[in-house]
């Protein structure tokens, strides 16, 4: 089933130069649409929309998390005290 997910990626220094979003699109057949970003030498964040097969979106997010990118909902944590 096709789906859409909005997420925020946060990259630490060692991953800033990696083409992670390109690989996410290629390897999981996802359309990636960046809406807002701030990438610096020491870290970066990107908010983007992912379109594709829901299973592939999940697999893609698992892969991104596994290589060390923090994945969050676009509007911050939804759990509160």
């Amino acid at each position: 089933m096709m789906g859409t997910q909005r997420v925020k990626f946060t990259f630490m220094t060692q991953l800033v130069k990696e083409p992670i979003i390109y690989q996410l699109g290629q390897n999981f057949n996802l359309v990636t649409n960046i809406r807002r970003a701030d990438v610096r030498e020491d870290m970066g964040w990107v908010v983007l929309e992912l379109d594709g097969d829901e299973t592939e979106i999940q697999r893609g997010l698992d892969w991104v998390s596994a290589i060390g990118v923090r994945v969050d909902p676009v509007s911050g944590d939804v759990i509160e005290g």
Binding site: T10, R35, V74, D77, I79, G81
Partner: protein, 430 residues
């Protein structure tokens, strides 16, 4: 009626109707309520406020939901207490405690949830929902009960029993999620995208967050329409911190503060700063989850998310939605931010209880310890008017202070009693 024009993206400025939305479709920035301050200034006055109910709804002209028939369990109008004993121990002669731990479900969350629940009913939602580590779940369940609608609350599987019972008693559908903090976060975000429910801090967030402004209004009103020189505030998402500041500035711009002339709100209502608002805003986070304090200390223009590891679970938000905006308030107000060592959290709880008779939860321990640091460092001068916000009740986090239970155990005889009491008095015990 609510004097709301609509919603506006805080990042790109795009406008939206006042609906159940929280994120800009274009840039995914957060949406904020836009008010019709021209009309508000025509109707609002100190007298009108003073004639309102003894709850947050006395400020209904400045809230984004219709206050004629709110979902109200009497949140707010909590005591502002002159803290003579705590002040004496810290060397502060003009210290007040805003005791929000005595709200109906025992935390400040009743303020924000009352607004969100009222808005949810206006939008004709039949379910009020949230993901919470405690206080929010209690408040959502209580307000849904009052509104006569369904509540669905998501909690981590390892939540303390006291908090689980404190929410369950109101009869919500309670979903205990077995997973890490991140997994719970992700699941709840997906549920919110797929179910037509009013998630108070997701699709209701623009309205919900505004409820915290009442913490600013009340303190000003209770001080005789003055604002403090300093406030000390616990922070998790950063939303309450920014909204108290907004509340002070709204009162100033509307000419409601003593000796302050009204002024324009300017082009961006959310960044307005009236020159008469000179309150220094001090933020308290626990060291085990201090992403905003870290960003402030390092001069970062962004907040790097962290994985929470603190006993102050009500402050455990690793990716704070309003962190960047809280940093702007720190800068504008000339305030400060302090990460309280985990070991000092319980000391703060005990200090407040033993000096002022107020039993706060771990977040309050963080705040009192931060206050102590500010006093010790001289950042707050002895005669400066200072308000410390205590936002949750200690009955919810009793596990943190179990070591205080140390009764004098005796046989039922007068002699046994006199023995132990004389020993206690001899060592200077109370």
């Amino acid at each position: 009626m609510a004097f709301v024009k609509g919603l506006m993206c805080r990042e790109c400025g795009r406008e939206y109707p006042a609906e159940a939305l929280n994120v800009c479709d274009y840039c995914f920035g957060p949406l904020e309520v836009v008010y019709d301050y021209a009309t508000i200034s025509d109707v609002i006055s100190r007298e009108r406020i003073s004639q309102g109910p003894l709850s947050i709804w006395r400020y209904q002209d400045l809230l984004p939901a219709n206050g004629d028939d709110p979902v109200d369990i009497m949140a707010g109008y909590t005591p502002l207490i002159k803290a003579r004993n705590l002040g004496k121990s810290l060397g502060l002669r003009n210290l007040y405690i805003k005791n929000d731990s005595v709200n109906p479900s025992f935390s400040f969350k009743d303020r924000v949830v009352s607004v969100a629940a009222t808005k949810a009913v206006e939008f004709e939602f039949d379910t009020l929902a949230c993901a919470s580590t405690g206080n929010l779940a209690c408040s959502v369940a209580a307000h849904a009960a009052r509104a006569g609608i369904r509540a669905v609350v998501f909690i981590p599987w390892d939540l303390e029993r006291g908090k689980v019972i404190g929410a369950a008693i109101y009869g919500p559908t309670m979903v205990s999620v077995e997973g890490t903090y991140d997994e719970v976060n992700r699941l709840c975000s997906e549920v919110a995208d797929n179910y037509p429910w009013a998630f108070v801090n997701i699709n209701m967030r623009p309205y919900y967050a505004e409820g915290s402004k009442t913490l600013g209004y009340e303190v000003a009103e209770q001080l005789g329409w003055r604002i403090p020189d300093h406030v000390v505030i616990p922070s998790a998402s950063g939303a309450m911190f920014t909204k108290i500041w907004k509340g002070f500035n709204e009162l100033a711009c509307l000419g409601l503060l003593d000796g302050v002339d009204a002024s324009s709100f300017g082009p961006d209502q959310n960044t307005v700063h009236h020159p008469a608002v000179t309150t220094k805003m001090h933020m308290a986070q626990a060291e085990g989850c201090a992403p905003i304090v870290t960003a402030w200390a390092n001069g970062q223009p962004h907040v790097s998310p962290v994985r929470p590891n603190t006993i102050a679970k009500s402050l455990a938000i690793g990716n704070p939605a309003d962190g960047i905006y809280a940093i702007r308030v720190l800068k504008e107000s000339g305030g400060s931010a302090y990460a309280v060592p985990e070991a000092d959290v319980v000391d703060g709880i005990k200090l407040l209880a033993e000096t002022e008779g107020i039993f706060t939860e771990t977040a309050g321990g963080v705040t009192v310890s931060a206050l102590k640091n500010l006093a010790d460092s001289g950042a707050i001068k002895p005669d400066e008017l200072t308000v410390v916000y205590i936002t949750g009740n200690g009955l919810k986090t009793q596990e943190a202070v179990e070591d205080v239970v140390n009764p004098l155990s005796i046989k039922p005889s007068m002699g046994a009693f006199e023995d132990v009491i004389s020993q206690r008095i001899a060592v200077g015990g109370r």
